[in-house]
Symmetry: C2
Amino acid sequence: MSNGFQNHDHARCVSGGISELEHYCAGEGLRLTPVRKRVFELLSSAHRAMGAYELLDHLRAEDLGSQPPVIYRALDFLTSHGFAHKIEGLNAFVACTNPGADHDPAFMICRKCDRVAESNTSPGQLNQMASDAGFEIEHKVVEVLGVCPDCNVQEPS
Amino acid sequence: MSNGFQNHDHARCVSGGISELEHYCAGEGLRLTPVRKRVFELLSSAHRAMGAYELLDHLRAEDLGSQPPVIYRALDFLTSHGFAHKIEGLNAFVACTNPGADHDPAFMICRKCDRVAESNTSPGQLNQMASDAGFEIEHKVVEVLGVCPDCNVQEPS
DNA sequence: TGAAACATGTTACTTTATAACATATCAAAT
DNA sequence: ATTTGATATGTTATAAAGTAACATGTTTCA
């Protein structure tokens, strides 16, 4: 995978993500309601981190809901089933690029354009650290903030 | 280092941290004002993640300030000089256990008692990922949420 | 001793997130 | 078909986290 910051067939990446989502929900008996599906579409096509209230603005414009709980519930659904991730460093959310797959994602987040690339880390190092300390891991947060190659072209710092 | 969740001479760990802080500030010509020092002391002696408003309550009780900017300024000072870190996953702050040292910290955060252990990761893996993608790293966030050994004793899940 | 840099005080506000409770819809078993 | 339990939505209100902006004070050092 990796799907870094390279160009890709974006329309296909979005529609493919939605198919996976539909398929997975059907298989697991999860209800993919209009709001949930739309939020995933928005995140997936933006391909960047989006804030809850930014997403809510879209829903409101489409009459899919207007109050904060609407978007937070949809995001809870998506994140708890692995279809989206929260970027803690930005208080924002991204679509998962490989939902269903068991993974320990690492994110590269561009502070200029907010685009996010998801990559996999090998979990060995953190697991070792935790087991040395007798610590039981429930959730890992690995995020790298910086500047993506495209944004770095303009102003090489 | 590591300083996981083991027992340690806490009074000494706190006073030692403050000495380091004073020494470092003196050397760099930084102003260690009463608010800044007190916030570090609070974080250091709590030895866990504390929210900004929780810290502010302490300052208020001691007449060191009462408005949000007071605490956020102090925390900006401490974090920007490496004396404290923000735990993004909790929107909270911890004292750094080895200020001054150049490091890529990784945190283990207990969701039951909020205690935090700071450890070092070897930066190779993330650096490799970033350089493969042409991404320029500015800041790393590595946090592991879970249950510390002490809290795990009571209810082994 | 006056000017620049740094720090504080304060008001007001924005952004992010959740609690609580009423209502509606779905799914499956009788 | 109908009840029922679980799941999802609508809505109000509020909590929690963080910042902008500007006036005032305090160091430092030329």
